[in-house]
């Protein structure tokens, strides 16, 4: 209740304030004393831990500080989103690790949401086989430890044939124990600009749709959005690409020496980790989605049908907004879980932030700094997810009048 409430009944100031008495029987004095005491004790413990650590490190002449970050790393990294070689600094190597963690977390969250939603809806299906299969999936997947599942997927992927006997299901696509090889194009600045244009197009489409909806609310006339959207999202990048001379050089993977060269690689480590995280988390998300849908009263469907709304319209305008209220808060926890579980990558050799920071702290011997970096990275990622989901939750919350 804000202070600007018009209703005078709600604006009462509470009981009259009286001065604090210096007596143990004064409740407010007791509260203040306890709080000072607790804060003091916590502060003392933190100080003691800190000074004890610093003292012991000094006595053992173990190096401290973050100076190592600018030193040459010399550690090999198998896959990287940015340019990296062992002559780069530890800071660069750790950045590669953070990006690798984000690569698996972001893709994992999206895929787990899609798979989890499908399974959750399937479990509510009237089709006996579909609902039982979905139920079986959920019960098996969420009852097995994730580490076991990761090792399972990794072992399966290692069982694929070697590069010389690689499976070739589609022209240009190769599956071997070195990973999946996909045809790709030689990436030039023109493609980057086209990508930027596409992002701009999506933003413009969103703004356009918003404006059109406003008009619809004003005059009640529905308007088509998709022609303009198509032009903005696909047409704009195409124009940019052609303006740059329409460069297109296919990059088809080919077997040369030990392995395939060229093309796009999805490593077995990344694939196993992604598969494990997605299938595992989807099991939990499915139950959240199911709970969310079941939480919407059957009467809501019936009432909406009585108003003459179409089924899709009912789902979109009546059921989903109410279901999301139940779904979003536990979903946030699942996204956080998936992100943190990605640190199990160490077991199967995917070089995420934990793996690279571990190696760094081992080579420099600075364990406390290394662990601090790992904690900071996870804290930042997790708080960002929380912040975003809280914002989204507030946005979709039913406005009660």
């Amino acid at each position: 209740m804000s202070s600007s409430t018009a209703d005078p009944r709600l604006a009462s100031a509470g009981p009259p304030r009286r001065p604090i008495r210096l007596s143990w029987s004064d409740e407010r004095l007791r509260a203040i004393v306890w709080q000072i005491l607790v804060v003091g004790i916590v502060g003392a413990i933190v100080w003691w831990l800190w000074s004890n650590t610093v003292h012991n490190l000094e006595v053992r002449r173990i190096a401290t500080g973050f100076g190592f970050l600018s030193r040459e790393a010399g550690l090999p990294i198998g896959e990287s989103l940015i340019e990296y070689d062992p002559t780069h600094s530890y800071l660069r190597a750790l950045t590669v690790g953070v990006l690798n963690t984000l690569k698996v977390a972001v893709v994992g969250v999206i895929l787990a949401t899609i798979l989890g939603t499908l399974v959750g809806i399937a479990r509510l299906s009237k089709n006996w086989l579909v609902s039982k299969l979905a139920g079986f999936y959920v019960e098996v997947i969420r009852d097995l430890p994730l580490l076991l599942q990761l090792l399972f997927w990794y072992t399966i992927l290692q069982g694929l044939p070697g590069p010389r006997q690689a499976l070739n299901p589609v022209e240009g696509v190769f599956l071997s124990n070195r990973g999946m090889k996909l045809p790709w194009i030689e990436w030039l600045p023109a493609h980057s600009w086209a990508l930027v244009a596409m992002v701009a197009g999506i933003g413009a489409t969103w703004a356009y749709a918003r404006a059109m909806r406003k008009k619809q609310y004003a005059d009640g006339q529905p308007r088509k959005i998709w022609p303009a959207g198509l032009a903005l999202i696909l047409g704009l990048p195409l124009v940019v690409w052609v303006a740059h001379g329409a460069p297109f050089t296919p990059d088809i993977p080919a077997l040369r020496g030990f392995n395939f060269r060229g093309g796009l690689t999805v490593s077995p480590e990344y694939f196993a980790l992604l598969l494990g995280l997605v299938t595992y988390t989807a099991g939990f998300i499915a139950e959240i989605v199911r709970a969310g849908i079941l939480a919407v009263n059957q009467g809501q469907w019936e009432a909406a049908e009585a108003l003459g709304l179409r089924r899709g319209e009912i789902l979109k305008r009546i059921v989903l907004p109410q279901a999301l209220r139940v779904i979003v808060p536990p979903m946030t926890s699942q996204y956080l879980n998936l992100t943190k579980n990605s640190s199990l990558a160490v077991a199967i050799g995917y070089q995420d932030i934990v793996s690279i920071a571990n190696t760094t702290l081992n080579q420099t011997g600075q364990a406390i700094e290394g662990i601090a970096i790992i904690m900071l990275v996870y804290l930042t990622i997790s708080l960002s997810i929380s912040l975003f989901m809280n914002w989204y939750n507030a946005r979709i919350a039913l406005v009660e009048r």
């Binding site: 007791r30 413990i45 006595v59 053992r60 002449r61 190096a63 290692q158 070195r178 030990f258 480590e269």
Partner: protein, 351 residues
């Protein structure tokens, strides 16, 4: 509102009490930093067992046998220290450590010493806060490939995928070597020894790289060792040896001179079989000093004067330790032969 505030206050009070009670418990925990360089040795004596950091399982160096008894070259160094302290090589508790957690284990005082095929480097000796006590095995890094791959030398590995354990000098040597020879490779970095070997065996990698001794050990543990070839190239120097914490001078002296004692015994032909007799009847002055019949070299190390008799009786001399553990996995003495036989193992004089 009042009820809520009350319960919060009570909860805070409870928390404060709990922390108050926990604080003295926590205060007893920190390992006392070394005072006068004898703290660790005193702690070991008071405890009655040596806590020795070893490999998680590397045939020939440290591995539990079918009865769960730890055996191997590195394990024998732990047993030798226990024998010197208490004339009982079984008074050791072994802590298996991975390549990554071994240093923190030693730094934090979880183990008293590290006997875990660890390479002596300048930065480990200084900024990691360790003291290496000698080189008990001269090693070098090599590559193992499948015989069917048809690879002859390491230079043929351009474009290959190479399995390596993280947090080791191996990893850095590999990148140094690749840079120097302009070789492109894809690393697969897995922490657990079993897993990294598994990845190599399953074909995820074309080659597996580690110290040649480790390759020999892994190869000997394969169902068909002849299917794997260790390439002739050795790309680095890997002097392996036990390490203790900086400031543990007494401990460092003891471990160092046990190592020299093992070598000295081999130089002088003293073995587990004849040490008892040599201790009483050998007329050579150096043998008499070493085995504690004359002088008080043992007491200078703050152990029993018969320390080396006890060590040799239980674990044998350096040659015997080598033959018992490393010859079966196919390793030659090579640079680890005595200096008198053209090798590098050499002991300073016992006087």
């Amino acid at each position: 509102m009042k009820a809520l505030r009350l319960s919060v206050t009570r909860a805070l009070g409870g928390a404060a009490l709990a922390t108050l009670m926990a604080a003295p418990l926590a205060a007893q925990q920190p390992a006392a930093p070394a005072g006068g360089g004898a703290a660790t040795l005193d702690a070991i004596r008071a405890r009655g067992t040596l806590i020795c950091g070893v490999n998680t399982g590397l045939a020939g160096f440290a591995q539990p046998d079918s009865q769960g008894v730890w055996r191997g070259f590195d394990v024998d160094y732990c047993r030798a220290v226990a024998a010197a302290l208490w004339n009982d090589p079984t008074k050791v508790r072994y802590v298996p450590t991975t390549a990554q957690n071994r240093f923190t284990a030693l730094q934090s005082g979880e183990v008293d010493m590290l006997s875990r095929n660890t390479t002596w480097t300048l930065s480990r000796d200084t900024s990691l806060g360790f003291d290496f006590t000698g080189i008990n095995f001269y090693d070098g890094q090599g590559f193992m490939v499948k015989a069917a791959a048809g690879v002859r030398t390491a230079r043929d590995l351009n474009g290959a995928t190479i399995c390596v354990q993280p947090g080791t000098t191996t990893e850095q040597n590999l990148t140094d070597w690749a840079r120097a020879n302009r070789i492109q490779f894809t690393p697969v970095v897995i922490e657990q020894l079993n897993d990294v070997v598994g990845a190599y065996v399953s074909g995820r990698c074309d080659a597996y790289t580690t110290d040649v001794s480790g390759l020999a050990s892994t190869r000997s543990a394969q169902p068909r060792p002849q299917e794997h070839v260790i390439l002739p190239d050795v790309i680095s120097k890997e002097p392996l040896g036990p390490a203790v914490r900086h400031g543990d001078q007494r401990m460092a002296d003891l471990v160092r001179w046990i190592h020299f004692g093992l070598i000295g015994a081999e130089e002088l032909g003293i073995t587990a079989a004849n040490v008892a007799q040599a201790a009483t009847s050998d007329q050579r002055p150096e043998v008499q000093r070493m085995l504690g019949r004359t002088g008080d070299l043992g007491r200078m190390l703050t152990v029993d004067n018969a320390w080396l008799v006890n060590v040799i009786r239980h674990v044998g001399n350096y040659g015997e330790v080598f033959e018992r553990n490393l010859t079966p996995i196919g390793l030659q003495r090579g640079p680890n032969a005595l200096w008198t036989n053209g090798g590098l193992q050499y002991s300073p004089p016992f006087r």
